[in-house]
């Protein structure tokens, strides 16, 4: 980072905005100015590094899992080691990477700027949330060192209350991470409600903000229930309260209800911000106003609220009563409608646009492809009788990797490549990162598509060993995982390389109309020199390409339409 800071060209101000002397990276120096920063942008950058680190740790674990499964029988991981590995892979990926991934890393960076505010409402709490993440991560790592964890990321009782791995350490870690997530959500809700500048009405907010707002609702309402569930689990192990223990009169299925009351809404914590990113990308790179703004905005809220009513679909075979299963199945499908609305609106946005295949758009297009598969396979799982067959097989594993990895991670990369020039002031190499994006796409499908087939044919999940009939699919999947690994390392490597070699980024390289592109790249400490001009966030015609700036500048002939 030092290189950027010292580069004199950066302080010369970026084209397209008023010349600015310092930016948030150069504003103050020294590690303390980062460790104790209250600037949402720096906190966002720290979150970004941290969550990416977690992703790589989780990814390495995934590669170990896949390597073990290349042949049936034991290769190099004992069954116990395998169990530890998938548990930690799942726990690290969900709690350390994907839940904070988009909202806390990218959201923190852009949310206040998009809104036209100087910062989030509670900067101290924001920093606190980051450190809670760090502590939570330390606990999880401690759990790995002191005895490991082999419960699955779901912590089902009574397995989790009887195993002799360090469940208490790990659940304490997740408990802390839960608070980190609550603080982020709470901060965002308050910021969006109380920090909007004049002119920034609800319906002038970019869809990414609607999405993070909807996400924040879930974070605030659902995460506390995870907190109490984990506390009860800790108490169960420590003093035997018996609430989840059958031999003490308790009920293990109760635990599943508690767990999924949080964890189903949590999957929408993962996907909603991703959908928000995609809405920004599709409109920008089609150079067209987003289609059906209000429908897309409302559908985020609808997904957030409906998402609370469907948790029972993870428990169709648990001994749940037939009546509740029916109810949950029905409600599950209701979430597909707002998701469908979004997908179709993105397509309609592309219609008659001017579509660029810049890296973020490549990710956005692969998001539509992969998320459709992931979402549509959710329909198989939501259908009662079919889920009985598919539950706890690789079909489910494939489903959730398609939505989490094919959906959220791809959108994360899309957002990262989109806001990268804004965050760092550097442009990365376009061609190589497009290639990396395509590599990720191919590797991903090769990894997870075969899992649908073997899952439907009965291959159970969480298996360290399997029957020879599934070998072919496992081998495809393992090969895919390595392709994916290489492509991902390339994708991130290209970005990192741009810090040293990339050309200086203009204020608005893509031609977006949202506020974060009005300030220089990287933005100044206080975000805006003057109160930003709030207009329609998708009026892409309000900016036009300028060869001299190598970016987009204000279009003098633009007249805001009455329509929006």
């Amino acid at each position: 980072m030092a290189t950027i800071v010292e580069n004199p060209s950066l302080t010369g101000g970026s084209p397209g905005a008023e010349p600015v002397v310092d930016n948030y990276l150069t504003f103050t120096r020294g590690w303390k100015s980062w460790a104790f920063t209250l600037d949402h942008k720096r906190i966002g950058v720290m979150y970004l590094c941290a969550t990416l680190g977690a992703f790589f740790v989780g990814g390495v674990m995934a590669l170990l899992l896949r390597s073990e499964l290349f042949f049936p029988g034991k290769q190099f991981l004992s069954p116990d080691m395998y169990n530890h590995m998938f548990t930690l892979h799942g726990a690290v990926m969900t709690f350390l990477f994907i839940i904070p991934g988009i909202p806390a890393a990218q959201g923190n960076f852009v949310l206040p700027i998009m809104l036209g505010a100087k910062d989030v409402a509670f900067p101290r709490m924001n920093l606190g949330s980051f450190y809670l993440w760090v502590f939570g991560a330390i606990y999880l790592v401690a759990a790995i060192i002191f005895g490991g964890l082999d419960t699955g990321w779901t912590f089902y009782t009574p397995y989790s209350t009887t195993t002799n791995t360090s469940v208490i350490l790990a659940t304490t870690g997740v408990f802390i991470l839960g608070f980190s997530s609550i603080f982020t959500g709470l901060n965002f809700i308050v910021t969006i409600h109380t920090m909007r500048p004049p002119g920034m009405t609800w319906f002038r907010m970019p869809l990414f903000l609607w999405a993070t707002y909807a996400t924040a609702i879930i974070q605030v309402l659902a995460t506390p229930v995870l907190g109490i569930t984990l506390l009860l689990l800790i108490a169960e192990r420590a003093v035997g309260i018996g609430i989840f223990q059958p031999e003490l009169g308790g009920d293990p299925v109760l635990f599943q209800h508690f767990f999924w009351f949080y964890s189903h809404p949590a999957v929408y914590i993962m996907i909603l911000p991703a959908m928000g990113v995609i809405s920004e990308l599709i409109s920008t790179f089609s150079r067209k106003h987003i289609f059906g703004y209000r429908f897309v905005a409302y559908s985020s809220i609808a997904i957030a609220l409906l998402g609370f009513l469907v948790w029972g679909h993870h428990m169709f075979t648990s001994g749940q009563s037939a009546v509740s299963a029916t109810m949950f199945s029905f409600l599950t499908f209701s979430v597909s409608i707002p998701s469908a609305i979004k997908v179709f609106n993105w397509l309609a946005t592309m219609y008659k646009g001017s579509i660029s295949f810049a890296t973020p758009m490549v990710y956005a297009l692969s998001f539509i492809f992969l998320f459709s598969i992931g979402g549509l396979t959710g329909l198989f799982l939501g259908a009662l009788s079919v889920d009985i067959h598919l539950h706890d097989t690789y079909f489910v594993v494939a489903h959730f990797h398609y939505v989490m990895m094919g959906g959220t991670l791809i959108a994360f990369l899309g957002g990262l490549t989109y806001w990268w020039p804004k965050m760092t002031g550097r442009m990365y190499d376009e061609f190589s990162s497009q290639m990396a994006a395509i590599g990720v796409f191919i590797g991903f499908n090769l990894t997870f598509f075969p899992q649908f087939v073997m899952g439907a044919r009965g291959m159970p999940r969480r298996y360290a060993d399997y029957l020879p009939e599934y070998e072919f699919y496992h081998q495809l999947s393992t090969i895919g995982a390595f392709v994916l690994g290489v492509a991902l390392v390339a994708a991130v490597g290209i970005l990192v390389r741009s810090l040293w070699t990339g050309p200086k980024a203009p204020a608005n390289p893509w031609g977006s109309a949202t506020l974060e592109w009005q300030c220089s790249s990287p933005p100044p400490h206080d975000n805006f020199a003057t109160t930003p001009e709030v207009g329609d966030p998708y009026a892409v015609e309000s900016v036009k390409w300028s060869d001299s700036e190598r970016g987009y500048v204000k279009n003098p002939s633009y007249v805001p339409s009455k329509d929006h």
Binding site: F27, T28, F36, L186, I189, P224, I243, G249, P524
Partner: protein
């Protein structure tokens, strides 16, 4: 800080970062306690207020898990609750309710004083509130230690002592002999006399000093009464729930004491003005919520039939 003295056009004069860190301290110069990223006290107050309400929402959902466990087990195993509550001390519960209500009143008065800028009233009201909180915790301490002595632990370690069972037997007996006809034996019904008579039993050593006692320290008649008590299977579950609910509530009281003390220190330093009293109000809201939860806990745990 090489660039700090270059005033960028981004920051208005007087709003600049004269302070440590990267300037996020209160930079409004003549406007104490107004953070730099807010435009006005009102905006700051509104943000804080919305924030604290959202926080209370998370608290409600946090507790909801325990209430949920309570409801499920109460509906499925009512006998556990009818049995378990025999061991709870209704008087102490009622006293604690009143103590918390008083503290709620003083907290509300403290907020009012802060709004009006009456520093002395504010300080004294906060002191009374903290005092009430300590009284509450003291009484809880007495209750817990009694339970531990009587072997009334969470499920895995639940092992009521003969004394505890004798006490329960008397309560059941009293309830029946007072003609609560509709109640089946052992379901723990009792009327208001049960409480009076039960005081007597604590003094049993005196009453029955001359009689022979067995290894449990009980006379034959008492042992018979103890044997007549049907301890429902998994009776410890009630105590698990009791400890979880009251324990978590207790932790919130302790957190409340810390928060109010912080407010107290700040009011002694004279930080609060009619323009800036947000923290008092926020802590007050939190404190009222803690009270609110107790308002439900008291009948749910202590006053069951």
């Amino acid at each position: 800080m090489s660039t700090a003295d270059v005033v960028s056009p981004v920051t208005a004069p007087g709003e600049h970062h004269a302070h440590s860190g990267d300037g996020h301290d209160h930079g409004h110069g003549h406007q104490p306690h107004l953070a730099h990223h807010f435009e006005s006290y009102e905006q700051q107050f509104d943000a804080g207020k919305l924030g604290i309400w959202l926080f209370l929402v998370t608290e409600v959902l946090f507790f909801s898990g325990l209430f949920c466990a309570y409801v499920v087990f109460r509906v499925l195993y009512p006998e556990l609750f009818a049995f378990g509550h025999l061991f709870l001390n209704k008087e102490l519960g009622a006293i604690n309710t009143v103590v918390l209500l008083v503290s709620s009143l003083t907290m509300a008065l403290a907020v009012r004083a802060a709004q009006l800028g009456q520093r002395q009233v504010l300080i004294s009201m906060l002191v009374v509130t903290i005092a009430c909180a300590f009284v509450f915790m003291g009484i809880k301490y007495v209750e817990y230690t009694t339970k531990f002595r009587e072997g009334l632990f969470p499920a895995r370690y639940f092992a009521p002592t003969p004394e505890a069972l004798l006490h329960a037997a008397h309560m059941i007996h009293d309830a029946q002999s007072h003609g609560a006809a509709g109640h089946a034996a052992g379901d723990g019904a009792h009327d208001e006399h049960a409480a009076d008579t039960s005081h007597g039993h604590d003094a049993k050593a005196g009453d029955h000093a001359h009689e022979e006692v067995n290894k449990n320290g009980l006379t034959a008649a008492e042992q018979a009464m103890v044997d007549s008590v049907k301890v429902p299977a998994n009776a410890g579950l009630f105590f698990s729930i009791y400890y979880c609910l009251t324990g978590l509530h207790g932790i919130h009281i302790i957190a409340g004491i810390a928060a109010i003390s912080w407010i107290l220190v700040r009011s002694i330093k004279g930080h609060f003005t009619p323009l800036y009293f947000g923290p008092v109000e926020y802590v007050g809201l939190y404190w009222h919520l803690v009270d609110l939860i107790w308002i439900y806990l008291f009948p749910l745990l202590y006053l069951i039939h």
